[in-house]
């Protein structure tokens, strides 16, 4: 037995199988903690079909790195966020907890795992602090955790059983109320919450979780290589725009493609380009696939479609990019794309809502445009194409995002606090970070 403080990071997915932002963030935290002297991190991630499990256990290795383990869970109630196979939690999950005996358990999601895992930890490891990081609004919002209305994707400002029943009339207030209470039953058992944005904290506080338990810690990046600015000839323009992300409707790539199409040719010129790095279009609703594909075809040579990419490819892709555009039509939380753009010194053009507005300050490190407004985005793109020194001015004010080690150190401060050996470094959540909508 080592004398190191042992943390178990629990994620709803392993980046080897699911390359989502939360998965990457949780894994980076695991790596960051492992780098710190006196700390030892273990990583448990959920896997599901098409990965199959062994007959003898829901736990499996799948040849991951040491101190990493996978938990197979495939009986999940998406309404309640509940794992229907409680027996598997009681046996294999709890067995692992008891054998590992971590000093801190840090959840990064409950999706697929089931929110009851929090209670399983409480039962198996009484007295061990439990931390929960929120990556979006899934506990609050049944609409994929987006806080966007099911009708016309309008932004949602407030969740309540009555409001939510407007989105899900077939479920009704009673069921939605039960959903909320079920999730809160377990979330309230946690000792601390972590959020990568103040905006998300506000949303959960509005929902009913105590502000005092929240800490804002940005996700930490794993820095391999910094992409230098794209070389341009004297008098050349910073006119390469890039979209990085999944091609879901909520990510708003269609807004960006439409805006790029509408820019007058004399402004766009011959060498401007919009580069789309994103995948999973084939998994979207057919209507959206058709709409988006037609848009790209209409845009002609202005839009280049590169398909999906791996995280390790990002520095290489970023070398050819001047601006990163984040046109999401939902709130976002703390998009890794913004941090990565800032890491490589690329100003960001982002929607003026939620986590994007918090991270991208207009005229400081990027530009904001009115959410889902093609016209406003057209104006911002024209501004970038017609303001020769804008890129350099914004780039100079970009602050380097924290790396995974820095992120881990900030988490350690939270853990130390919970373990009663506080070094006083944990940053408490401010009273209210983002103005309440009028």
């Amino acid at each position: 037995m080592t004398s190191k403080t042992r943390v178990l990071v629990i994620s709803h997915g392993h980046p080897s199988f699911s390359l989502g932002g939360a998965e990457v963030a949780s894994y980076n935290l695991h790596l960051g903690l492992s780098d710190l002297p006196g700390w030892e991190s273990h990583y448990l991630a959920r896997v599901a079909p098409p990965v199959s499990r062994h007959a003898g256990s829901h736990l499996l290795s799948l040849r991951q790195k040491p101190r990493e383990i996978l938990f197979h869970a495939d009986d999940y109630d998406h309404v309640r966020g509940s794992n229907r196979n409680l027996a598997a939690l009681e046996t294999d999950f709890v067995r692992y907890l008891k054998d590992l005996r971590p000093d801190v358990v840090h959840f990064h999601h409950f999706l697929g795992l089931g929110i009851e895992t929090v209670l399983a930890v409480r039962h198996a490891l009484p007295g061990v602090p439990v931390v929960f990081t929120f990556h979006e609004y899934l506990a609050i919002c049944h609409h994929h955790g987006q806080m966007v209305k099911t009708q016309r994707n309008a932004l949602c400002y407030r969740a309540s059983p009555a409001d939510c029943a407007g989105c899900f009339p077939q479920m009704g207030e009673a069921q939605l109320y039960r959903r909320e209470q079920f999730l809160k039953t377990f979330l309230e058992l946690c000792d601390a919450y972590v959020s990568p944005s103040h905006f998300l904290i506000d949303r959960y506080v509005d929902w009913g979780l105590p502000r005092a338990k929240f800490r804002m810690i940005e996700n930490g990046l794993t820095v391999e290589e910094i992409a230098p600015p794209r070389p341009i000839p004297r008098g050349g323009r910073r006119n390469r725009f890039a979209f990085f992300g999944q091609l879901t409707e909520f990510k708003g790539a269609h807004v960006l493609v439409e805006a790029a199409s509408r820019i007058p040719q004399k402004v766009w010129g011959d060498d401007s380009a919009l580069m789309i790095f994103g995948g999973n279009l084939e998994r979207q609703p057919p209507a959206y696939q058709k709409h988006f594909t037609e848009q790209v075809q209409r845009a002609g040579r202005r839009v280049r479609f590169y398909g999906s990419y791996r995280a390790a490819e990002l520095p290489g892709l970023m070398k050819d990019v001047d601006w990163v555009v984040l046109p999401s039509i939902w709130w976002e939380n703390s998009p890794v794309v913004i941090q990565e753009a800032f890491l490589h010194g690329r100003p960001v053009i982002a929607s003026n809502i939620g986590g994007m507005a918090e991270k991208v300050q207009h005229g400081v490190n990027g530009l904001n445009f009115r959410n889902a407004s093609v016209e406003d985005l057209v104006d911002r793109l024209i501004e970038t194409l017609t303001s020769p020194d804008l890129w350099d001015r914004l780039r100079m004010r970009i602050r380097r995002p924290i790396d995974r080690t820095e992120c881990a150190e900030r988490h350690v401060a939270v853990y130390e606090d919970l373990l009663g050996r506080s070094r006083g470094a944990a940053e408490a959540a401010p009273e209210r970070a983002v103005a309440r909508p009028s």
Binding site: A55, R63, Q64, R95
Partner: protein
């Protein structure tokens, strides 16, 4: 559930009443004598001072036998004052009415002598019930005795179904009746009883009977409702009724009920009416266990109790491994005195075991050894030919053991044991891929330490380097668990050999004598192979053979069969095995040495 077996009074002079004065006038006369179908005697006559209720009667033939009796009285206006009619039922008497010379009736502490009336009526066999029914209205008896009399007066089982043609709104059928040798009878079927007339259901076989419906499991049988929905007699009664017509349950039957005994179900409908349904149990077949597991709802809050009561006993009896016949074919080079025997049970449809044989053939530690390939019930018909070819090519001494009755690996191992020639045995599943590099020698040295032999298993990993087996240990509740199952192999990187509660029969080295002892002792019946294997491992440990886990020796085993689904019957099977295991190994902690570190 109370089992009722009827007993006979043993005849003998000492059983009779005190000596009586043969010259004195009798206290009354016997006028009617008859015998009930099956068993029991009716004696009717008159005497003085008789009191209705339980008493004793001596029916005097060549000997004087004393019997328990139920006495009813009835008024007679043809007798002197103080005298009255009496009707005695001797429920357990088995006497020829024609052989009776006189009777003695106990009244209080005294005995009344009733001589045989000259014009007595000797009822023909089978008429006693009718006579009693005729008398019932005028008899005076306690309420309890009146119920007994009504029961005796009721029609007896005559070997055929009286439910189907009954005028009462009651129907019933037996879907499955299985006599599990040494255990009892499994019954499932349905009674349709919309007006709740059936008060009790009793299973009978000859003189033995038992109340069967006390705790039996109920089930929804919509098909029964629908089947009678157009029946004008039942349709009005079924409106609004639920569909829980089905029943299923296990009835323990004592061993003294003959194996070929005829059973019938007796439905009590009201105080003095009975319906009968023949029950013809069949022996359990291969589908029996699954069928009864399908009858269980594992999500029923009372599932554990119901399964323990109705399913565990027949499953344990039906699944108990029975060594079947085996034939042996010696293949490859002859080696009459091998140093090590490797037993490979083949209980699936694979056509060959070439990887296992090839790996063993190139392992120098198996030199001077033999391999027993045991072909179980489900083995492929082409397996023997492939094994024969491999034995020749690899120059391996192979004993092909054909065990067509072996249903699983444990039974295949049991079938192979008599044919194992070496004093050391390696049990090796076909799922295990034998590694190279002296693993066999390492395992053998661990298992055969001088003076401290053990049943030793290596670490078994899945192909993705998850732990499949790293010893069976006991959890906080003294229940066996596979430690570290599913963990990354790195977790046990520095582990040392340690005693455990159970080894893995997928790969284990042990002395042949221990295996022989454990197999000879027989095993308990389990549905799933995991508990069965653990049972055998624990039996070996309980017989004195400690189990060791050798972490440094690592082999890989793969899941070749698709993972079993989560159907309700499988969950029921898991409950059965859990309960059966708990019953078999109630204090497994005391029997073993392993415990979670």
């Amino acid at each position: 559930m109370k089992t009722r077996t009827r007993r006979h009074a043993a005849p003998g002079p000492e059983d009779g009443p005190p000596p009586v004065d043969e010259t004195a006038a009798p206290d009354g006369f016997v006028e009617v004598v008859g015998r009930f179908a099956g068993e029991g005697l009716l004696i009717q006559g008159w005497t003085t001072g008789a009191i209705a209720g339980a008493t004793e009667v001596v029916a005097e033939t060549r000997v004087r036998c004393r019997h328990a009796a139920v006495l009813a009285t009835f008024p007679r206006d043809d007798l002197k004052p103080g005298a009255g009619g009496v009707l005695a039922i001797l429920p357990e008497a088995d006497i020829d009415p024609a052989a009776i010379r006189r009777c003695h009736l106990k009244v209080g502490a005294a005995w009344r002598r009733l001589d045989l009336f000259g014009q007595r009526t000797l009822l023909p066999d089978g008429d006693a019930e009718g006579h009693l029914r005729h008398m019932l209205a005028k008899l005076e008896a306690t309420d309890a005795d009146r119920r007994t009399l009504r029961r005796l007066a009721a029609p007896r089982y005559a070997g055929h179904d009286t439910v189907s043609g009954s005028a009462l709104p009651v129907r019933a059928a037996i879907d499955l009746a299985v006599r599990v040798p040494g255990a009892g009878v499994w019954l499932s079927g349905w009674p349709l009883d919309p007006t709740r007339r059936v008060e009790a259901a009793t299973l009978n076989a000859g003189r033995w009977s038992v109340r069967a419906d006390g705790e039996w499991m109920r089930a929804v049988r919509r098909d029964v409702t629908e089947g009678f929905a157009q029946n004008p007699r039942f349709a009005p009664l079924l409106a609004g009724a639920d569909d829980r017509h089905g029943f299923a349950g296990f009835v323990p039957v004592p061993d003294d009920v003959a194996a070929d005994a005829a059973f019938h179900l007796e439905l009590a409908v009201g105080e003095d009416a009975f319906l009968f349904l023949p029950v013809s149990p069949v022996p359990p077949n291969g589908e029996f266990v699954r069928r009864i597991l399908c009858a269980v709802d594992p999500d029923d809050p009372a599932a554990d109790a119901l399964i323990a009561r109705h399913v565990v006993p027949p499953v344990r009896a039906a699944e108990r491994p029975v060594p079947g016949p085996a034939t042996v074919h010696d293949l490859g080079p002859a080696r009459p005195d091998p140093r090590l025997s490797v037993v490979i049970p083949v209980v699936d449809g694979r056509e060959d075991v070439d990887l296992s044989l090839a790996r063993l053939a190139v392992d120098p530690d198996l030199a001077q050894g033999e391999v027993l390939v045991v072909a179980g019930a489900a083995s492929n018909a082409r397996l023997p030919r492939a094994v024969r070819a491999a034995a020749g090519f690899y120059r391996l001494t192979v004993r092909l053991v054909l065990a067509p009755r072996a249903r699983d690996a444990i039974e295949a191992i049991a079938a192979a044991v008599p044919h194992v020639r070496a004093a050391r045995v390696l049990l090796l599943s076909t799922a295990v891929v034998p590694p190279g590099g002296g693993w066999l020698g390492d395992l053998e040295r661990a298992a055969m330490r001088p003076g401290r032999p053990a049943m030793a298993s290596p670490t078994i990993l899945y192909e993705d380097h998850s732990v499949r087996f790293a010893g069976i240990v006991l959890d906080d509740a003294a229940l066996p668990v596979a430690q570290y199952a599913g963990y990354p192999a790195d977790w046990i990187r520095d582990a040392e050999p340690r005693p455990v509660a159970g080894a893995s029969l997928d790969c284990a080295m042990l002395p042949r004598a221990w295996l022989e002892t454990a197999v000879r002792a027989g095993g308990e019946g389990f549905v799933g192979p995991e508990r069965k294997a653990l049972d055998l491992s624990l039996r070996i440990a309980a017989a004195g053979g400690p189990c060791l886990w050798i972490p440094a020796v690592r082999v890989v085993a793969v899941d070749e069969a698709p993972r079993a689904g989560d159907e309700p019957w499988r969950r029921a099977a898991a409950v059965v095995d859990r309960l059966a295991f708990a019953a078999t190994w109630p204090r497994v902690a005391n029997a073993t040495v392993g415990a979670a570190p």
